[in-house]
């Protein structure tokens, strides 16, 4: 279990400071937890703090009872951690087996027989058993990510942190990856960050939206969808006319009778022919971002 109180992180860049995290309070229980947010929201910073790589500026983090702000607590946490960074760098001259084996050694798995068995097991789990004796430098992006997840899993971590793991994967690979994570989440905390709304909806019962270093929302995907209830509309307009600025265009479709828009906004009273629509997860996200003035013009 993860307990976070008043977490802040400030970066100093030259003589300016950037508040990457602005007072985060969260409790995260066992299972899949999704962290959703736009670029620059602070997701990577948050995950690096939980992985013990970045030190918080203030606040308090406890993971399974260990205090992350102490050196010894950090050491304990790293001993039960699996981490897949957003920008995954690897030793590409090694084969997949060698790389995962080396990471297992660094994580302290000394018994070479057990280690060997576990390395093959995780490579099998990510579907790389056949390619495991090839050098990583010949791998595709998706295969590299799979090696990345294999090394994260090799020590059977109690806490698995994956930072935008599905970026750059094809749809099939993404689905495989999501299913793998869900299976893993049965008996551990899996923390997944993404800016792809569907990835979370399909997998997490619990999620948070992070924007500008603050938690905007905490709840289930259903609750997120509900947030946009009565705020989603479809509207068909003729010619060059565009919906006014109070309404955010989520999608548009050019039809014979004009352009059909899907809109999110508090009301569409300016338009008599606007029809209320069923909200989806993405609408919920857009609505919340709009509420907090995080939304930029979409068209």
């Amino acid at each position: 279990m993860i307990e976070i109180k008043g977490l802040t992180k400030t970066y100093g860049v030259g003589n300016k400071t950037i508040n990457a995290l602005n007072g985060i309070d969260l409790r995260i229980n066992s299972g899949m937890f999704g962290l959703l947010g736009p670029n620059g929201a602070g997701k990577t910073t948050f995950m690096r703090i939980l992985a013990g790589i970045v030190n918080p500026s203030s606040g308090f983090v406890k993971i399974n009872g260990f205090d992350l702000t102490t050196e010894s607590g950090k050491h304990q946490i790293k001993s039960m951690l699996g981490y897949l960074p957003q920008e995954l760098g690897m030793y590409t001259e090694l084969t997949a087996i060698q790389f995962v084996d080396y990471m297992a050694i660094l994580k302290g798995i000394d018994d070479s027989r057990k280690r060997n068995q576990r390395v093959h097991e995780v490579l099998e789990m990510v579907g790389l058993a056949k390619e495991s004796n090839r050098k990583i430098k010949g791998f595709s992006g998706g295969m590299k990510r799979r090696v990345g997840i294999a090394q994260a899993l090799v020590n059977n971590p109690k806490l698995l942190i994956v930072d935008e793991p599905t970026a750059g994967l094809d749809p099939e690979e993404r689905i495989r990856f999501r299913n793998l994570l869900v299976n893993l989440a049965t008996d551990r905390v899996v923390l997944l960050s993404t800016h792809i709304v569907e990835d979370i909806g399909q997998t997490c019962r619990d999620l948070a939206i992070l924007a500008k270093g603050q938690i905007l929302f905490r709840g289930s995907p259903t609750e997120l969808t509900k947030a946009a209830e009565n705020h989603v509309w479809t509207l068909t307009m003729q010619g060059m006319e565009k919906p006014n600025h109070d309404l955010t265009v989520v999608s548009m479709l050019h039809l014979a009778e004009g352009t059909q828009y899907r809109l999110v906004g508090s009301n569409a009273k300016d338009y008599a022919n606007a029809q209320p629509a069923q909200p989806g997860l993405e609408d919920g996200y857009v609505w919340l971002m709009k509420q907090s003035n995080q939304m930029v013009e979409m068209i």
């Binding site: 690096r48 992985a51 013990g52 790589i53 970045v54 030190n55 050196e71 050491h75 790293k78 001993s79 951690l81 981490y83 960074p85 920008e87 995954l88 760098g89 690897m90 030793y91 590409t92 001259e93 090694l94 060698q98 084996d101 080396y102 990471m103 050694i105 660094l106 994580k107 302290g108 000394d110 090394q151």
Partner: protein
């Protein structure tokens, strides 16, 4: 738990950087063979052991820790900062030691005269001490600046300045920090104090590097 594997430490080392010590080694050997003159051979051999080996060690050390593609993954494992420093700097030192010893054997085989330096131990200390010092400086420089280049720059600057003003370095209080005293002033009365001071300084560099390496966010 040992968290260590010699095999992978070697396999993950940037092997392409080995051209650097090998090229210097071959250059000095070839030049000495071509010139083939006893006093020149002695000077060239001392220059190699006492100045080239430490320089190469220092520059390689600047790249040894931070020039690591999987640094973020490494930082997320429970290995200690001290281990990272020891593992990497020992390897750099080992490479220099292999170069220096093989060069020494080569020099002996063509009867190069090292008697001006003193005993065999004195001769070897005259490259071991500066090599440790510049490795420590290179490590410290790259970590304090959070950039490999800065470590290499520190090493290069100190090396060139001390070579240029070597006579001045041996006389005033700078004498304790004169890296090349073992080969240029082997009979200096303060040679031992100089060696101890350099080792102490290296230790301080390593300690500072160790403390600073705990702030992992500076390096990713």
């Amino acid at each position: 738990m040992k968290h260590f594997s010699l095999k992978y430490t070697l396999l993950t080392y940037r092997l392409d950087q080995l051209w650097f010590p090998i090229a210097f080694w071959m250059l000095f050997v070839i030049v000495i063979l071509i010139i083939n003159e006893p006093s020149q051979s002695t000077d060239m051999s001392l220059a190699y052991l006492g100045t080239a080996v430490p320089l190469i060690g220092g520059v390689m050390a600047a790249y040894a820790i931070l020039d690591d593609p999987a640094l973020e993954l490494r930082f997320a494992t429970p290995i200690r900062a001290a281990q990272i420093i020891i593992e990497r700097t020992l390897m750099i030192f080992f490479i220099q030691a292999v170069c220096a010893f093989s060069f020494y054997i080569f020099a002996k085989s063509i009867d190069v005269d090292f008697s001006s330096i003193g005993t065999v131990l004195d001769l070897h200390l005259s490259w071991v001490i500066p090599t440790i010092t510049l490795i420590a400086l290179g490590t410290f420089g790259s970590i304090v600046g959070a950039q490999t280049m800065i470590g290499a720059f520190f090493v290069g600057i100190v090396w060139i300045i001390q070579i240029i003003i070597r006579d001045g370095m041996a006389i005033n209080n700078w004498k304790y920090f004169y890296i090349f005293m073992g080969i240029t002033n082997p009979e200096h009365p303060d040679l031992h104090a100089n060696q101890i001071a350099l080792l102490a300084l290296s230790l301080i560099f390593f300690l500072c590097s160790w403390i600073l390496l705990h702030r992992q966010e500076r390096y990713i």
